[in-house]
């Protein structure tokens, strides 16, 4: 059952990556693009975890954790840049 469901889940996640990427291209202002990048890294975490389930290895969680940390730092950095015009003061 799980082997049948995992390709469907991959397809749904790929569709959601596509929608977020369209918003990243289209987004009229800067916060829309930041939000699209935030959604893209969360989709990437879901894809990596699903790949770990598909290949049956526990190797991929460190990658997911790293993507989570780096994506959070990136989002915070971009938002601080919009707020202050400067990231570190």
């Amino acid at each position: 059952m799980l082997e049948m469901v995992i390709p469907i889940a991959f397809a749904l996640l790929a569709l959601s990556v596509l929608f977020s990427f369209l918003r990243l291209l289209k987004g009229p202002d800067l916060p829309d693009r930041i939000l699209a990048l935030d959604t893209l890294y969360i989709n990437a975490i879901a894809l990596v975890v699903l790949l770990g389930l598909h290949l049956d290895t526990a190797l991929y969680f460190e990658a997911a954790l790293l993507i989570a940390v780096m994506g959070f730092v990136g989002t915070i950095g971009l938002s601080k840049y919009l707020l202050r015009g400067d990231i570190m003061e």
Binding site: L2, A9, S16, L35, N43, I45, V49, L50, L65, K80
Partner: protein, 103 residues
């Protein structure tokens, strides 16, 4: 039985992620768009991570808890980043649809 629960969790997670991204694409306003992904993707990724915790706990005969770390980190950081994005959007006075109320 476990197989069915895992399949349901993976499907729920992927569908919620897709719904969040559709919301990000379709909604008319940044403040409405913020609502979609920040709620749906944490639930979606949370369901997929719970599925992977269950799978690796039952196949390797030992509790595999380091996926919980990703879940906890996401659940802590998602509201913080959403708050900062909304704050910066308010700061640069982003234009909004008149249905979006401000206080």
């Amino acid at each position: 039985m476990l197989d069915w629960i895992l399949a349901a969790l993976v499907l729920i997670g992927a569908s919620f992620t897709l719904i969040g991204s559709i919301g990000l694409y379709k909604l008319p306003d940044f403040f409405m768009r913020l609502h979609g992904p920040t709620k749906a993707t944490t639930l979606g990724v949370g369901a997929i991570l719970i599925a992977s915790v269950l799978y690796f706990s039952f196949t390797t005969e030992s509790a595999s808890l380091h996926e919980i770390l990703v879940t906890v980190f996401l659940f802590i950081t998602a509201p913080v980043s959403a708050h900062l994005m909304a704050k910066s959007a308010l700061h640069i006075k982003l234009k909004k649809v008149e249905r979006t109320r401000s206080d």
